[in-house]
Amino acid sequence: MPVYDQGYRPYGGERKGLRRRWIPLFREEALPYLRKKRFLLLLILAVVPWFYGIALTYLHTQLGDAEWAKDFLGQLPKVDETLVARLLTNGWSIFLMMIVSIWVGSGLVARDRKQRTLEVFLGRALGPVQYLWAKGAALGLFFLIFSMIPVTVLVIFHVGLSGDLAFLWTHGRVLWGTLLFSAVGLGSLTLFLLCISSLSKSPRVVGILLVGVAFFGWAASGILFAITRSEAAWFFGLIPQIEALGILCLGADVKSLISPLQSGLFFSLLTLGSLGVLWIRFGRKGVLR
């Protein structure tokens, strides 16, 4: 007697086009993290510095005209590109961003390779580019919580409290600079994480590798700088490069450890190198080699 108690029925319903096939995979990659309390706590902690920005916005917009508060407000930082750059690239935010990178990034491709679900996904009408896009988009979504989302909320808050759009005209770079920072910095970081994650079948090994690249690379750059006193020592530090890119994109009035040329070179190399590795892993040799 067959094990099934219901016969096979053909499917005659609708089928979606090929272009949006990545969306279910993206959803399935991102949602499980949002159900984890520890991960949510991490995201909440990541936006804590932005409450400072919101508080400053409130004070400047609400008390800016009050004579008695002028001295007090004068001592506080203004809400501008420099403040946003500091909030984007402060040590706390970058540290948490690296933790999220390692948490999410280490398993992006490695887990699929370990569980052999990569061949199952790619055995569907889902090309390698769509697969990588879905994975990258899930990580990118979390990166936006560190960048574009709080900046947008800050701007909306500012415009709402001040009652006019002047802030957008005078400090428009806050938005497009953050967008550029997200696209270049976090985009290349996402590609790099996809690339590292595709190199091993073990998310743990990938995680250790990422910790090495992120934190030990930073420490090694610092030691090298202490020895040589050359600012070129920071070139290979991922974290100093992210900080420098934030300052550069927002045109902040903060001294950067890395020149714009070095920064541009670093992120170009990171992006091209990652794309090259991904092409070899997913294209030239077949997806599973």
Binding site: P10, Y11, R21, Q115, T117, L122, G123, R289
Partner: protein
Amino acid sequence: MGVLAVHGVHVSYGSTKALQGITFQVKGGAAGLLGPNGAGKSTLIKALLGLVPLSSGSFTLLDRESRQLGPALRDRVGYVPERDGVRAGMSGVAWVSLLGELSGLPRRAAIERSHEVLQYVGLGESRYRDAATYSTGMQQRLKLAAALVHDPLLVLLDEPTAGMDPKGREEMLDLCRDLVDQGKTLLLSTHILKDVEAVCSEVVILHRGRVVAGARIEDWTRSQAQHFLVQWHGKPEEFRDACTKAGWEVGRGENGLFRVVLPQEEGPRSVFSVADGLQGAIHRFVREETSLEEVFLEAVSKEVPLEEPA
């Protein structure tokens, strides 16, 4: 033209030639892909799915070139991987419906369909459990459900009964037979010959990346039907000479036991007619059954030249 036609497919991993000019056709029903470990069965399946690039050659699915179909080809193909291939932490129904969505089914339809196929493969009761807690047999069925969720025309099964107990194996083979009855075409890659005998009507034998034999199992059985074992009680030389005179192939007769091969146009009665004119009698007359196993062993024992690395 059949459902699947493979023309001169070559696949190389660096200097290693994994597949060398594979050509065969599957007209429909179930076809077995047999071969020892390392013969290239899994590579061929991955090549058909586009997971491994072809060095040369092509294949057609329902008369359409694989290159013409592109990724849409995989909407018509279901794949049951050999090992793992199940996401830990997801329930059976969540996993199958995700794969349904990846194959283009709208979310709601994918969920409904995943319930249906899980019921069909016998996992109805366990569909809400974490797939990582499933037994090997349940995982194999889950993979079959995932391969069927988008209602493919061709199902590629890579060792579908691997690690299953005899009962589970039989149930899986039952499902395969039922799918063939439903009009699906199955390509069953395995090294378990009994699975092929139980399900398939055709077989392709691979060895060292080449097709070394291939035919309908029925034809093989028919060709073997003309082999007989005859126990002759009388003078052995006399019987041998008579058979040879009749134009039959006669094997060495120890203790009066002969292997006689009759041409297609003659039947067993001919042997008794010949024996009638001799001094002696046939004590035993048995049709010699050659199993697929013997055919397989003969095919893979042939020396296949290894091509020099390019």
